[in-house]
Symmetry: C2
Subunit: 248 residues, 2 copies
DNA sequence: GCCAGCATACCGGTATACAGGTTTATTGAC
DNA sequence: GTCAATAAACCTGTATACCGGTATGCTGGC
């Protein structure tokens, strides 16, 4: 088995085909449409960096990998394209996009814009008992994940915390939009190995946000959220230098 | 030719097929992909209420109308579905969505969240000379449109004003996202016959926003924008009662 | 006249064949 | 050995045939 660096030395990055055989895709279920499942699985693989940025994703190959024809794959690719995860160059192929610093900064801007508006609204309409319970459970989950030093679980609970806040506004599309717009940041996060102290800080910030919302203090809630989300910007420069191949 | 009310009297709303022949679609050009053109033309027809909310859009029929096969139509429909303009009921058909008051309120929330963040950022980074010129021209255009009592032109210049502000942030996707998320409001606006006084008020608000941004006063800019955007909420209840068929 | 049951027509979902265009590899001349 | 020209192998874009499922309208029994 060759190391990544050696492979790169022999092949120009642009020509690299994605190594689909190495990715543990689940077999398609009959419960939901194949196009939907292919979209989700390929999206997650791209987000988790299992598919190298810059690599070629062939409709035919992906279809064969899932045992489906090109038609559902094309539909999945349409959605990946809109999510900004691939770019299509006609007659040449679909390529997994690289991370882009301006794009990351814009994602942070949009995320911050929406999430601060979310907490301000929550201060206004109040937090229902059910929503509050679920958010508290998410925070408990974060505590457990830190104790277990389980990065993956912590990330999942982190996402859940923000999703639950958005859902509590009663605006279903807002949660969806947030998930969509933060995808560039998700790829960044995979590159960052978070130490226990970093996670502890995030947890503390989550608590600050929740407390401000419970106190119905919009100014403080907004400030806490903005502070919390701005922290990712510090990661960009470091990671760009460390993982140059993954950036534009 | 029958009046709309008579047609409705004979056909249950749900069964109505869209009358594609009556819509002045342009012929497909060779310059851009058919799927893209079909998407844009159908989207605009839906936004301008040329296709009745609740009506059935058949892939086959749309394909025949444009002289294309189902494949590009399917791709266009995928995008319309994500834009929330149609819903697909498997084995039954694609239906143009009706306006929904909760959905409209959410669109207003999201638009306000993003646009207030935009003007705050503009106060921070300042407005370049080129951007300022273009925005001023847009406002001049609004003045002209009001003088000519040209509603369509005023709406175009109104959109342009907001788009230019978003573009001035240097975040290209933000402008795109705004356009996408305000589509429900665009359909609402078509139903509203705006009198001259209403347009004059919007223009005045635009000037307030621009002045606050030029003065680099984030608090005032945010307040002016929020006030400006909140005004559409007043329209919802009236239009819902007047055009009941168009709402859920 | 009413209602249940069935045949039919229509829809989207999928697979596949073909077309147009780009890249890559090979081959031949120099 | 080098380079240009050509052919093959890809890619996406498009058209089309077939499938299963749903809605509908007709028909026959009551």
């Amino acid at each position: 088995m060759l190391a990544d660096g050696e492979v790169l030395a022999f092949m120009p990055a642009q020509k690299n085909s994605a190594d689909l055989a190495a990715i543990p895709f689940a077999e398609l279920e009959t419960s939901s449409p194949p196009a939907e499942q292919i979209f989700r699985q390929v999206r997650d693989a791209v987000l988790q960096m299992q598919i190298r940025p810059g690599s070629l994703l062939s409709e035919t190959e992906v279809g064969q990998r899932f045992g489906a024809s090109r038609t559902p794959v094309r539909e999945a690719f349409t959605r990946l394209r809109e999510a900004g995860l691939i770019v299509t160059r006609p007659s040449r192929g679909n390529f997994v996009t690289r991370l882009s610093e301006p794009r990351l900064r814009e994602a942070q801007f949009l995320r911050s814009a929406i999430e601060t508006a979310v907490v301000i609204r929550l201060c206004k309409i109040g937090l229902g008992a059910e929503h509050l319970d679920r958010i508290k459970m998410s925070i408990s989950g974060q505590v457990t994940a830190i104790a277990d030093n389980n990065d993956l679980d912590f990330q999942a609970q982190d996402d859940r915390f923000h999703t639950l806040l958005a859902a509590a506004t009663g605006y279903p599309r807002t949660a969806m939009l947030l998930a969509q717009e933060k995808t560039p940041l998700d790829r960044l996060r995979v590159l960052a190995l978070s130490d226990r102290g970093h996670k502890a800080r995030l947890l503390s910030e989550h608590r600050d946000i929740l407390n401000a919302v419970r106190a119905r203090d919009p100014a403080q809630a907004q400030a806490a959220m903005a502070r919390h989300l701005a922290s990712v910007l510090d990661l960009i420069a470091d990671l760009r230098d460390a993982d140059g191949d993954y950036f534009e």
